[in-house]
């Protein structure tokens, strides 16, 4: 049985309120880390995977639209990667939760381990102590968070890579590499036409990005000019206007891509650190329709009122 289908099946909710149901499902997807487990590609109980045949594979067209799409089977042998080409629709290879970043940057989670403690500067630590995330050891009640994303401000860079990284389309043109994220349906451009990063630019949520091929299968993007208001990740790691993000996209073979993200912000951190380390993504069929997932302030408000903060409703008035 397909859980995703069931939870989104309209007849299961009161007929008078399909909109409310849809809102709550989406709000739950976006605002509740636990609920996001349900967006992992549904595994068909009847599908059988073998080591020899590339198909059949579990259906992953979670929106139920389009030609039947098949995920690559893990044991399937891939073909070599094409050169200078990272285009395609990519999904976290180990399921949607793997890109969730619910404990912060996946490679540096906030889990109390000394080796995951970031090399904060004094300012970095002070800024960090002012962030009030909704999850992790420092979590506060939803009503008390100052996570900008909780109000549906843009995630910006690098958080778009570090929180809720899901199905991601990459399209290449002769001048650029365009990334289309599932979360918030945001697109961003990495210029690959040889231009330089701008000097002292107006800050942008998603900054300014340039990239180049360092070998036939590895595209390295540098981003600067990001907005200080964004957090690096869900647990509130800070960033300054001096932040520089390096993204390293390495196509291992036709079906596999690895993303490594390195943070360089001398105001906040005494040295660079790796936020994503060869995060594995797998190629989806070109016909895969990426589910819509957009943060909506009115949905967030409805969700918080009904579910996230029930204590705020002090019984019947």
């Amino acid at each position: 049985m397909d859980r995703t289908r069931v939870t989104r099946n309209r007849p299961l909710v009161p007929k008078v309120a399909p909109k409310v149901a849809a809102r709550l499902v989406f709000a739950a997807l976006i605002f509740s880390p636990l609920a996001s487990a349900q967006t992992a590609p549904p595994q068909s109980a009847t599908s059988k995977q073998t080591n020899t045949a590339p198909a059949p594979a579990p259906a992953v067209d979670v929106d139920g639209w389009g030609p039947s799409t098949n995920a690559p089977v893990k044991s399937q042998k891939s073909a070599p990667a094409p050169r200078h080409d990272i285009s395609g629709t990519w999904a976290p290879a180990n399921g949607a939760l793997d890109g969730g970043g619910f404990a912060g940057a996946k490679n540096m989670p906030e889990d109390g381990k000394p080796e995951h403690r970031l090399p904060f500067t004094a300012l970095g630590l002070e800024t960090y102590n002012r962030t009030k995330p909704t999850i992790g050891p420092r979590m506060v009640l939803t009503a008390e968070t100052n996570d900008p994303e909780a109000a549906c401000d843009p995630q910006g860079m690098p958080r778009e890579d570090l929180f809720q990284l899901r199905e991601t389309q990459i399209v290449q043109t002769p001048e650029s590499v365009v990334i289309l994220y599932q979360y918030d349906r945001i697109w961003r451009v990495i210029w690959a036409d040889g231009r330089k990063l701008p000097q002292d630019p107006e800050p942008r949520w998603f900054g300014y990005s340039v990239g180049k091929w360092v070998d036939d299968y590895t595209f390295v993007a540098e981003t600067s000019g990001t907005d200080e208001r964004t957090w690096l990740d869900l647990v509130g790691r800070p960033q300054s206007a001096d932040l520089r993000v390096e993204e390293r996209f390495h196509r291992v073979d036709r079906d596999n891509l690895e993303l490594t993200v390195t943070i360089d912000d001398p105001k906040m951190y005494t040295k660079t650190w790796v936020a994503l380390d060869k995060f594995p993504m797998k190629l989806l069929p070109a016909s895969f329709d990426v589910r819509e997932m957009i943060c909506s302030p009115s949905e967030a408000a409805a969700y918080n009122k009904l579910i996230a903060d029930p204590a705020s409703e002090k019984g019947p008035q």
Binding site: R8, R10, P18, K19, A22, D63, G64, W65, G66, P67, P148, A151, C152, D153, P154, Q169, V171, T173, P174, E175, V178, L180, R185, I186, W187, R188, V189, W191, D193, R195, P198, P201, E202, P203, R204, W205, F206, Y208, D227, E228, R229, A241, A286, S287, D289, V290, E292, I294, S296, P297, S298, E299
Partner: protein, 278 residues
Amino acid sequence: MRNPFLASKLVLALLISAALASGQTAPSQWGQGTSSPVHNEHASAPAPKHDISGTWDPGDNGIGQLGARAMPEDGNPQHQPPYTPEGREALNQAKPSNGLRSVLPADTNDPVVTCDPQGVPREDLYEMRTTQILQTPEKILLLYTFGKIWRVIWTDGRELPKDPEPRWYGYSVGKWADDYTLVVQTTGLDERTWIDRAGRPHSDALRVEERFHRVDRDHLELSVTIDDPKMYTKPWLALDKLRFDLQPANFDIREMICSPSEFAEYNKLVGTPASEKK
């Protein structure tokens, strides 16, 4: 010393909120020789076949402050969409912050004011600015300036879904009607959105047709038709050949994203000064 933070916030808030600011779209600040959009009046080379890809700019004609450009809410009886009684009632519930029926910013129920997604067709009809179009063998991707939102139009022959879960941007399929004209149908739209800035309503029965016609290499025209039998007695034209100019491929589209925290600040500082008088 400048305050880039506040400046940036206010510039974007102004761009988004103020009708008057729309003529002043700041040039893209980054790139090579692409400091402002190119507007070509002349005829250009022939259009390539089955190809609408490129970065396209409609100038100031895509702002839609009075509602759908081909049907503005300007008091002209000819610009009255053909409402059904239900449509009329829904219209009366919409309280836009602009146009003939405008209310104070604090009293509007325009979903976009609180940064909810515009959805389709409003993304075409309000704040339609520089738009990048990418084509792959299976699909066409539209990358809008406003909201930095992308949307997909499938051209692989699939049919529109039956009774789908509503989406802000619906479900879109497109077909080439001739060598230079792509016709797109969109359904499955979320009833919470407005069709345009003036608060024209739609129901879940809405069907939107977009007709992208590449006139020649440098020019594209977009027509948008609204078909919603619950709200309107007949289909009506919301955009009539809105003209776009092709931009250089290295044109960097300005970032313009609705931010709830910026809006709160803007409204506090500028948008509702009267409310502070109490």
